[in-house]
């Protein structure tokens, strides 16, 4: 197996009754790559992602994530990846420090390691003054940055981000992407879904799902050339609208 490929997916399929939500998708993601996973609502993105993070059994096909098979080693996948979604992130009624400690504990870090990690994380995000405040009292943008850092607390090889920047202001959105770049620079693979097409341009490669299939997969530059348009938004509109 090529160790540089952190995600390897072949003909992965999920069928619900007579509906094929994910239809034989095939792709690889390299170490340190920022991989954009796009598609219209209902195209099958969430179903595909659920299979990759080990919480939904595929109907057929093959996939390994961080070296583990999605069929036989789903539990190992969960321990070895980071995950952040806009919908579920942190506990609002725990403080910043408590959240970090909680998630560190969940991932089996030692007390000493949690302490070290918490100190680094709070310093890097500039949260010294609010470390003992309830997360619920923080602005959304701070929460999202904290949530991202917490998803990396156990040093995973790969982090899955499900629409991480919804609703935040444009400055915070960019600060968030700087954290993503930094993680990628450190060799962490980033698998991200978004509805912001300018964010699709920030990805190294982008795949676009339409009706359960991956209809396009390339660098943003090559996709724009291929579809003869100027922006990823136009690529998306062309593909998804047919």
């Amino acid at each position: 197996m090529n160790t540089n490929k952190v995600i390897q997916v072949k003909e992965l399929t999920k069928v619900f009754g007579d509906f094929t939500a994910v239809n034989a998708i095939t792709f690889d993601v390299e170490k340190g790559e920022i991989f954009g996973f796009l598609g219209a609502n209902g195209a099958g993105k969430t179903t595909a992602m659920k299979m990759l993070i080990g919480i939904s059994n595929p109907t057929s096909g093959k996939a390994t994530v961080a070296g583990f098979d999605v069929f036989t080693n789903a539990e190992d996948i969960k321990k070895n990846i980071g995950y952040m979604s806009q919908k579920f992130a942190l506990y609002d009624d725990l403080t910043v420090k408590e959240n970090i400690t909680f998630f560190g504990g969940i991932y089996g870090l030692s007390r000493k390691r949690i302490k070290e990690k918490a100190a680094i994380l709070i310093k890097e995000l500039g949260l010294e003054n609010v470390a003992n405040k309830l997360v619920g009292s923080l602005p959304l943008g701070w929460k999202q940055k904290l949530s991202f850092s917490v998803s990396l607390i156990h040093d995973p090889k790969i982090v899955f981000l499900d629409e991480p920047t919804g609703g935040v202001d444009p400055i915070t959105r960019r600060q968030f992407w700087e954290l993503i770049y930094k993680a990628s620079h450190q060799g962490i693979t980033v698998f991200v879904t978004t509805h912001y097409m300018d964010e699709a341009e920030y990805c190294d490669r982008v795949s676009i799902m339409v009706n359960g299939k991956i209809e396009a997969l390339d660098t943003p530059k090559k996709l724009k050339e291929q579809f003869k348009v100027d922006t990823m938004n136009d690529v998306f509109l062309k593909l998804a609208r047919g």
Partner: protein
């Protein structure tokens, strides 16, 4: 004027959600309230739809005062809240029929208004609302907000979390409704949707940053702005941020938007600096500001 807002303030315990907001929306206008979560958009919607009382200031909608004439407002406006608020266990048709009946009308009477939108969900009219996809829920909610033929339509973040294709279709629907004479106040966190409104208010932290047409707002951005690109985005952003003369550095799709503090900025000088940071394939080209650039400059 269809909506008048004068010196409205609202606070919840310690949070000042709205700070002395004033603006007006003309009859038949498509007006956008553009700002991130927590800017105060929903609070303003709730005050205008008479679901919340402001601490200070006055407001009227379709000629009716939000306090003294709240009942008239409720008959004359349609409101689509940000959170899906229809009955999940009623079918598509039952929901629509319910809202029509409440307002003393029938689906048939105003079918013309919703026809374009309703035919897209009609194949699923016997499906429970809770079982619809996000895009279909949004269309049903819009139909229910329109079924009594309101004069003013309030849409609170109708496109949040919606993919670009459905967003485009939704805005096309709004344009058609506007042509039928309905005044629309719509909020969105997507800056690219701002360009589709007649006028917009940029809002953040309970304050209006600016109100004007999208074209005029962009013109208010005075600094020359440059598209910068290089072989490595991460290092490019870091290098530009470390450059002592930078005024702003924001990634924008495949480029970084850069502005300089000096009035006699010379791009060639910046190129030399970036080369010294071991970047290659450097391009620096003048570009035009977008609504998002303006928003970030004002919010700085």
């Amino acid at each position: 004027m269809s909506i008048k807002i004068a010196n409205i303030s609202k606070s919840y315990k310690k949070v000042n959600a709205l700070k002395n907001i004033s603006f007006e929306v003309k009859s038949g206008e498509l007006f956008g309230l553009i700002g991130p979560d927590g800017a105060g958009k929903t609070t303003l919607f709730r005050i205008l739809t008479t679901l919340l009382i402001a601490n200070e200031g006055v407001a009227s909608v379709a000629g009716f005062d939000v306090i003294t004439d709240y009942k008239s407002i409720r008959k004359n406006v349609g409101y689509m809240p940000g959170k899906f608020s229809l009955y999940q266990d009623l079918t598509v048709e039952e929901n629509l029929d319910f809202f029509a009946t409440i307002f003393g009308t029938t689906i048939e009477e105003n079918y013309d208004l919703i026809k374009d939108i309703y035919i897209q969900i009609e194949p699923f009219k016997n499906r429970r609302a809770g079982k619809l996809s996000g895009g279909m829920k949004q269309k049903l909610a819009l139909c229910c907000a329109l079924i009594h033929k309101p004069k003013v339509l309030f849409l609170d973040e109708p496109t949040t979390g919606v993919d670009p294709v459905s967003r485009k279709e939704f805005w096309e629907m709004l344009k058609r409704l506007q042509q039928k004479g309905i005044t629309i106040l719509v909020s969105t966190p997507y800056m690219d949707e701002a360009a589709l409104c007649d006028r917009i208010a940029l809002i953040q932290g309970g304050k209006i940053l600016e109100i004007d047409t999208p074209a005029a707002i962009v013109k208010h951005y005075l600094k020359p702005i440059y598209n910068v690109s290089a072989n490595n985005m991460y290092q490019l952003v870091n290098s530009l941020k470390a450059y002592e003369y930078n005024h702003s550095v924001y990634p924008f799709g495949e480029f970084v938007h850069y502005t300089d503090r000096r009035s006699d900025f010379n791009p060639a000088e910046l190129k030399v600096y970036l080369e010294s940071k071991k970047l290659s394939n450097i391009t620096i080209e003048k570009t035009v500001a977008t609504i998002e650039d303006t928003f970030m400059e004002l919010a700085k």
